[in-house]
Symmetry: C2
Subunit: 258 residues, 2 copies
């Protein structure tokens, strides 16, 4: 592993929580940019379209460019367009339809079911509707498969468990689009114009962020903010652990000198 | 395999559908009994307590004895009692509480989460409540893990997908109590006083009924009623397939002469 020349940043739980930046996050992003590092933003968020995420971050005070944002909805659109799909059942928050503007969003005779995080709207009826389409031969795309997430002060079920429910019901395996999909990391790394071993991923999700990055040859830095939970056991070891994004510039200096 | 001396009968989809007996079912049960076969009723139903199931079948005209009914709720009670558990979170239809009358049914500090089929009441909030208890170290018991079932004329999601959701969220494996659990079949076979190779299981669920029986050394007869769906592929081959329970007496005569 050589010097760090690019950084992939997770958003919620790393740069901000809810509507507030994590302490020191705005300054840290500026410092990284001033140090000449390439930055890309790699989120698994499925509740808002890309333009809304960027606008919200700009309102918080982050200097960011929409072209540097990679979301699973954008990646899913590309995958489906490349395979000639145009009729979708979007089991995701209504706002996300903006990222699928060039598809027919319908609820019958679809080519694919695309699942995002419906949160409180996950119930038997919606899942059963998707199940009927899978029985009819539709493909299943999961924007991600995160097990749990933090909302406000509580850790709770994320999209992943509901993807697992449909996989089990229909006896199929979802195509997971966002992190930890190697293709998703590869797109962002290619956009940086770097090799994976010159890139860091910074995230709060040990599986999607850290495990996913490492399987793609990217070093993974775990922050202790967001959904980080010291009590959960797993078999993934981050390349570094920091209290928050505010410590990232120092951490990179240390990793680059190893 | 020798002569058939006992029969395990699934209920919904085999003997009745909704509130009506399947054509020929009452007569078939009488014929089996008149032929000296031992009968036991082995259901994965989790929506009603045992006494209600039996009362409903008697009202339909079946001559049945409550002592011959084996349900996952009864089996779960036994398993939990044997391991000293007394505080439960019952994520199941309210009526089922009757089968857990000797437990404390609470929603915090529980030893175990017991999942039954909540059907339309499966939503994020209930599943998340159970998830918090699993994070706190509670055991997860699934009364069964059937993928789908038939309600009225429609095939739809059963309990299994929601068990899979919680297993994935919490990174645990549920103890599946009902069919296809070998322990569940073994209890009913022991109650008949027979060896498995003298017993048939008759069901409409290829996995829970037929696959489960065969893994316990019991022959499995598939009926084409209930949730039977010729379009679904799987790798289980029933020992016999009949249009309905009405054909069972002839089928047994044939199997016994093999």
């Amino acid at each position: 592993m050589g010097a760090v020349r690019g950084v992939l940043l997770d958003l919620e739980g790393v740069l901000y929580q809810g509507d507030a930046p994590i302490e020191g996050a705005i300054k840290a992003v500026s410092q990284l940019r001033a140090a000449g590092l390439g930055l890309r933003f790699l989120t698994n968020t499925t509740t808002k379209p890309r333009r809304d995420i960027v606008a919200r971050m700009q309102a918080m005070g982050f200097e960011v460019d929409i072209a540097h944002f990679f979301s699973p909805a954008l990646a899913a659109g590309q995958i489906l367009r490349d395979s000639g799909v145009n009729r979708l059942f979007l089991a995701a928050p209504t706002d996300l339809a903006h990222d699928f503007a060039d598809f027919e969003l319908v609820d019958h005779d679809v080519h694919a079911v695309v699942m995002g995080d419906l949160y409180l709207d996950f119930h038997w009826t919606t899942l059963n509707q998707a199940f009927q389409m899978l029985r009819g031969g539709a493909r299943l795309l999961a924007l991600h498969k995160n097990r749990y997430c933090r909302r406000g002060n509580a850790i709770g079920l994320d999209l992943g468990p509901f993807v697992a429910a449909l996989e089990y019901a229909a006896g199929v395996k979802a195509e997971v689009v966002g992190k930890p999909s190697p293709a998703f990391f590869a797109t962002a790394v290619a956009n940086l114009g770097l090799e994976p071993d010159a890139v860091l991923m910074v995230g709060d999700d040990i599986e999607a962020d850290i495990g996913g990055a490492q399987r793609s040859g990217i070093r993974g830095v775990q922050v202790r903010t967001g959904k980080y939970d010291a009590s959960l056991t797993h078999d993934i070891t981050p390349d570094a652990i920091i209290d928050s994004i505010a410590e990232l510039p120092q951490c990179i200096a240390k990793l680059s000198s190893l």
